[in-house]
Symmetry: C2
Subunit: 351 residues, 2 copies
């Protein structure tokens, strides 16, 4: 029987949540359901000691909150009872006894704030950061990973790309020893859902309405439709997996808003499908990065990825192409990616 | 920057190869090309100290052979010069200074011999085993993993299923925390190649001849065609991933020999494709296991896996379905799976 790399007993992780939306709720539900299993199989023990939000305030219990109580609290949107008047998120990060900050605040792809401030505050006060927020790793990865290293801390971002599907863990832990030559993926579930629905005969407008109705669209729909979300994810993939810092603006970007039902039909007659594809390729030590809609032949593994699924094909020197397909959104699924990072943290601390 | 779980410096691994065919050659080529990278990035240092074969004898150098010399030797089939007259494979395993035995001898799915004797000899004398041979894990996994545990050794089998694609590492290291509810895969590249070619209009007989010509067929073609290879892989998946020992005979099995060109065409008209699918499902704590040809709708991810590619869909409690698609054969690819296990071993020893 193989011992899992994250096995053996560790000290207790004290978790602070910044942001308390669907991902945080998903994480709390998983932690409640799996507490005993995580302790027995992974030596992973934890408490959630703080929750901080922009609109509901900050609550703190250095001994840890009960998970059912937190899940109950997550169903409401009113300000927390007993919230600390003088602790905003940054103060909580700096002053609490948390050992790891889970950053799930609102994503801003222009400044990465307030997440950037949160990450700096965590590292400066000796706390690991697990970010489900794309801002920090898309915009300030080099600075933050250097700051984390300086303080012997981890900066982990599994939930930012292919939400539920752990790609960074996959490359680091499962493909170790391979050189990655190209990364190509369907990184945005919303646009893939829209293109899949249009494929089935729906109009762009009606499909967009369905996507909005199901909560698939970001607060600013352009984030999905015009490719900004996929652009940020491609920058994060380059920053983390290729060790090649990439400015967000270096990733060429276009979206799907110009694709018509006629384009979809025409592609179908050619035996092809339109997909919004992000590609990172390395040539002569230079990374080329681009997000754009492409007509893929049906035998391309990415052509078969329908609905809100995501997928990435890694082209490697030893194994050729390896494709991983899985969920790209969802409360439990994205919550799992946070847990995946917590288990990596646990494995590192005990090794 | 995340530290790889297999990072940090370890002691030198002394490798004994049992069997010296295409997989061993692929491994030697990878180790030659990547020696510096593996040492720098993974703290993985090694020597190959012994090679033992049935027909060419055993060579041994406790300080380690040069890799170019071994690769050169692998091009020939004549008995080794300077081979040790009184050391067969078992004697080499028992008496050499190797710390890890890579078992690549001929696969026998009836008795698992001589691999079973090799594994026992290794564990009894304090050596880890990495097996690319399906026999031991398909037939005697419980016994061997217990024996390995007793001696605080590892018994690793990455190369036995989806050769080049590290599925055991994926589940243990990347999906940790999930409960697996079902495993469904295209586990045999040869039959998938034959069905793909028939899909393109070739007859069963001519396709079988092409497969034989390209070296895709096992020594006994029935091992592929009648599903014995996939049956063994399904037993191994159950034994390693589900912690549920499964006798080989408990895996129901049928093959593809009864599928005609007419069946393929009829399926195509229904919008379906024939595939040889292995399924493990867990219901009421009982594992059901079966290999059989199935007509899959085109939107099933497994329907899109063509040629010699392999794929597995893991159905999990937290993430739903995750599919991994990659090479199922090849000298370098399968050699990589052995390296993947060596890196796990290295990570465990240094943690």
């Amino acid at each position: 029987m193989m011992v899992n790399s994250t096995g053996s007993a560790g000290s207790k992780h004290l978790i602070a949540l910044v942001g308390f939306g669907t991902v945080a709720t998903g994480l709390c539900k998983i932690l409640l359901e799996k507490r005993e299993h995580l302790s027995a199989a992974h030596g992973f023990d934890f408490e959630i000691v703080a929750v901080s939000t922009r609109s509901r305030g900050t609550i703190y219990n250095p001994q840890g909150f009960s998970l059912p109580e937190l899940i109950n609290l997550s169903q409401s949107t009113t300000p927390f009872e007993n919230h600390l008047q003088d602790w905003d998120s940054e103060a909580m990060i700096r002053k609490s006894n948390a050992t790891v900050v889970v950053e799930l605040a609102h994503t801003d792809l222009n400044t990465a704030e307030p997440a950037l401030t949160h990450c700096r505050a965590a590292f400066e006060t000796g706390k690991h950061v697990i970010s489900g927020n794309k801002g920090p790793a898309a915009i300030a990865y080099s600075e933050l990973s250097a700051l984390a290293s300086k303080h012997k801390l981890l900066f982990l971002n599994e939930a930012t790309v292919l939400s539920g599907t752990p790609v960074f863990s996959f490359v680091h832990n499962t493909l170790g020893g391979n050189r990655i030559k190209r990364i190509r993926g369907i990184l945005n579930g919303t646009t893939n859902f829209i293109l899949s629905e249009m494929q089935s005969g729906s109009s762009y407008e009606s499909t967009l309405a369905v996507a909005a109705d199901r909560g698939y669209l970001e607060a600013d729909p352009a984030a999905d439709i015009e490719g900004y979300d996929a652009q940020a994810k491609l920058a994060i993939l380059a920053n983390i997996l290729l060790d090649t810092p990439l400015e967000l603006g270096q990733v060429k970007r276009s979206g799907i808003s110009s694709i018509t039902s006629e384009d979809i039909k025409a592609a179908e007659q050619e035996g092809k499908r339109w997909k919004l594809v992000g590609t990172l390729s390395i040539e002569n030590n230079t990374v080329q990065a681009e997000v754009k809609a492409e007509k893929l032949p049906l035998d391309d593994p990415l052509a078969q990825v329908m609905g809100t699924l995501n997928a990435i094909t890694f082209s490697t020197d030893l194994l050729g192409d390896i494709t991983i397909t899985g969920p790209g959104a969802g409360s439990i699924e994205t919550g799992y990616s946070i847990l995946s990072d917590l288990l990596i943290l646990n494995g590192q601390e005990t090794s």
